[in-house]
Symmetry: C3
Subunit: 415 residues, 3 copies
């Protein structure tokens, strides 16, 4: 326990089918490797296009000690830069969001345009070559209104495949023409991987999520048939086939795509919603009377979309709820949840904020408590990896496989 | 100062008769070794039997990042388990005390009985062998009502000798038939060894503990005769012999036992109380009118009992006050103090809570302030180990000897 | 990023003309070296003589985890000792200031006189040689009322040269006959070197310090002529020459001394003040009607005095404002600011506290915010050292040169 951790050895020794050894959740050196090799080198979901609708709008995105400034430039393109002045390193923007003309460092007023070029700095002399001191760019991609960044010099491969596969699923919902109805930041007292593992199974739903289970049919969330529930899963699959047929008749791709093993890994499927079949609300009816995109049916189920290593999204006929996970410390994680409705929907007229947000606000809080308990137990000397359920935790296993594989690859590259 | 600490070298270099070098009080690597090799391998005092009087009652015990669930099973036996689910490691019980039927993990409802057996878990398949996933047991011993645990696979030797020696001293006071009148948790801003060293001498009493000194005769607490006080100690020893004779006449073993050097080290002696001779109260008279055990004399002095590495206890005719020390961080320690009175004593009728607890609440607070000052000074670059008084700090030295010896033995085992 | 830092390599690789690599501001191992090799071995400014005007007066000075007790003894000499008892290491004085007869450790009442001699301790036996257990002394120097300590066994060389050079500048202002009108402690959320670098340039003044710029002529603070401002600097230099002539006519040495590269490095110059030319106040008029020393002219400008590694001072005709920087953690620094006025000046009669202190209270707060931003940006993976302005950041560069040189020398000594 007190000897320095050899991460490569731990990676190589990982036992399939079991939760990870404790250091992956608690060790500060592994956490630094997570920031460098996982969050520093892969495509990270950071927000939705409607968070920066107009030229000059910006948000900042903090991942570990990194901070990224993401802004829409005057031509409407979305740009991302490290939020660090090239002079003496001051953080350029501290606020989480706002509007910018140029980017002016408050320390010595070095000034960058929204292309990141250093356009003005005093006292540096006539020979100073400003072109060598532009802001360090960060790769950014806009997937049908969902914004991803990659902080590596060479971006991780596979975003094109993600786009090709997912645009047909997402575009009909016209996320660029939504607006942010609400955003919540929850700090969970656990490692970011516990947040992700918790998201990748619904084994815990029955015991913890009464609000969510009104609308959610758990068999859509990573269940495999077992002797105990063959019949129920068969029934669910018949419903799924029927609904997929109906939705695809509307032009809405619905079938499961599982590319979780890719470097830019993801999974998606359109799933039925219980009861009225409309939305993840307390009564399963739509929360907003303004449907998204060109569709007027309320009962379009929910398109669920998961990405490695840090996001998930549920897209319904009336709203989108989208989740971005950000590691803060080995035992502390930010979960940012954003609710999107049609950009013309009016609060109090077309939607009620409480009805829109209450299910996931309750569910996030419940998950946060479970994640904290898991972190507490895992931090104990007595913890040893335990077995995943082959029937309900297959997607947790896939997350761990991806993580261990990508960490191992990153370690090899460093040598 | 900035080079990594070589603990084995520090252990070997320890200078007898002097306080320990600073890293033993401040270094986080030594702290982890303390948790692993001292608290993880020795018998630790954690509470009194009356804290869990009935079947299903439990307490949790946190030591560093470890958490132990201690419960009374349906047959009345006391059991202890690591408070960690065998599935994905969630902490089973967060509350410090309560009542349990079975132990149900709140994450995925894995269910254990009070024998620690996994009796129920969903979705693990027909082939899953539950017997391999019982809770990890922790050794537990009940010494006449005082509860000790050992977290090592193979418990530390010597508990039988402790029991043989101490049961005759403790049993007459019938601790199992007491109840908890009060419990206080004090967080001291110092290393746990400073808490222990402070307990093992009364050199500091005169300057700091006015309330305690009303009832306490300091010469019973680690004093050796010196030219300055030969006479006083002789007088004290005559009193001691007289009282020992009287108490042993009642069937109460009283003479000093010093086995502080044993692996399961301890010391005990029955000591006179000043003035009325009854109890550690503001006026030295009993605090509770219901005597413990079968004895009706109020003036039975106080049986003091100390164990390595983390406890001390004072047993009087009317009440017991018992102290359990738990390391939280290199510079932070929990001191849990519990006051026990006869189980039929009624608050406000048979005892007044303020009278019962005020001496040790004041004394603990004073000690906490001294321990904080010691930690502050020792954390300074300028600290160097200082000399123990040969006349008043012999038991501090014995504590340090034990600690250094046990740490050294543990380091050898690890190699 | 995750490999252990090799400090000597970083020191050797430092690029001239650029800000320091991130670990110098963020790494805890480098911070410990800063405490040991920079603050532990050099002359540190810690306070002004009027803070301890009478026999028995003391202050404590905390630098990292070290604490120093500085007191005036019965003969009026100023003494400094490590604030650590030689018995079991308790901190002797927790309060920041007060009055002492002897120094009595509150733990076991070991008692030292103000010469640091152990004059009384109980229970140590007849053979105990108290003379081996005096308080560990700290070197102290009083430079015309400004107090410096050196915690090394052998004090850093160069204090005599500092005294010879600076006494003629400082003595006319008679600091020993001032009193503390106000003292403020500001905790800045950045590394101590960012506090120092920020002090060593006025490039940032225009954008951040409206209150200070009323009285301050920025060209006195580290500017070099550039094509853009040759004329202004020429004008400033003519003013400077004129004023230096006038002040030296009064017997006030005024010309710049730059010994920043010395082991005991410093710089001083008397600078004109804008508008009425009197004092760093909101309207540039004196804040106190009692002039310091024997001078009755109000327009004496301001003698600015900077020392490596941790202080700066502005001495005007009516008051002194003096700054002591103390590292608390890699990203946390205490800035103690003290305002001194004539010892007979009466608050509300001779000076108004708000007028006296408002400029630097506002300026310190602004600087603290800039330093926090710099720390945030530098802590990001994306930070890379940036270029100093050759025209306004030459003194920042000199600070970094001194620091890197002294750290390198200290590392060599350790080997």
């Amino acid at each position: 326990m007190t000897e320095p951790i050899d991460i490569a050895t731990l990676v190589a020794a990982r036992q399939a089918g079991y939760s990870l050894p404790a250091p992956f959740y608690t060790d500060s050196d592994i956490f630094r490797h997570d920031l460098e090799l996982i969050f520093g080198r892969h495509w990270i979901y950071v927000g939705a296009e409607p968070e920066i609708p107009d030229a000059g709008d910006f948000i900042t995105v903090d991942v570990g000690s990194a901070s990224v400034l993401m802004a829409r430039d005057d031509e409407g393109r979305i740009r991302a830069f490290h939020n660090v002045c090239r002079h003496r390193g001051a953080r350029l923007q501290q606020a989480g969001r706002g509007v910018l003309g140029n980017i002016v460092c408050p320390y010595h007023q070095w000034t960058y345009n929204l292309n990141g070029e250093l356009i003005h700095c005093k006292h540096m002399g006539a020979d100073f070559d400003r072109s060598g001191f532009g802001l360090r760019p960060v790769h950014v991609e806009n997937l049908a209104g969902l914004l991803f960044i990659c902080m590596a010099a060479e971006p991780a491969p596979g975003f094109d495949a993600l786009r090709t596969a997912m645009e047909p699923y997402l575009q009909p919902h016209d996320i660029p023409n939504t607006k942010v109805a609400h955003q919540s930041d929850l700090i969970e007292m656990g490692n970011w991987k516990l947040t992700m593992e918790n998201n990748r199974e619904c084994y815990h739903c029955v015991g913890s999520h009464p609000e969510l289970l009104v609308s959610l049919l758990e068999y859509g969330f990573g269940y495999a048939p077992s002797p105990q529930n063959t019949k129920q899963i068969q029934g669910f699959n018949e419903l799924l086939a029927r609904e997929h047929g109906r939705w695809e008749g509307y032009g809405l791709p619905s079938r499961e795509i599982d590319r979780l093993e890719d470097v830019t890994g993801f999974r998606a499927v359109r799933l039925p919603i219980a009861r009225s079949g409309e939305s993840q609300t307390p009564d399963t009816k739509v929360a907003s009377s303004r449907p998204l995109g060109a569709y007027t049916h309320a009962d379009l189920g929910g398109l669920s979309f998961w990405t490695q290593p840090n996001s998930w999204h549920h897209v319904m006929s009336d709203h989108v709820v989208t989740f971005s996970v950000r590691p803060l410390a080995p035992g502390r994680t930010l979960l940012r949840t954003t609710w999107l409705v049609h950009k013309d929907a009016q609060q109090g007229v077309d939607y009620d904020l409480e009805r829109l947000t209450s299910v996931w606000i309750a569910t996030n809080k419940q998950d946060g408590a479970l994640i904290e308990r898991a972190q507490q137990g895992i931090a104990s000397l007595a913890y040893q990896p335990g077995p995943y359920s082959p029937f309900t935790e297959g997607l947790v296993e896939k997350f761990c496989d991806w993580y261990i594989g990508r960490l191992g690859a990153g370690l090899k590259d460093k040598r």
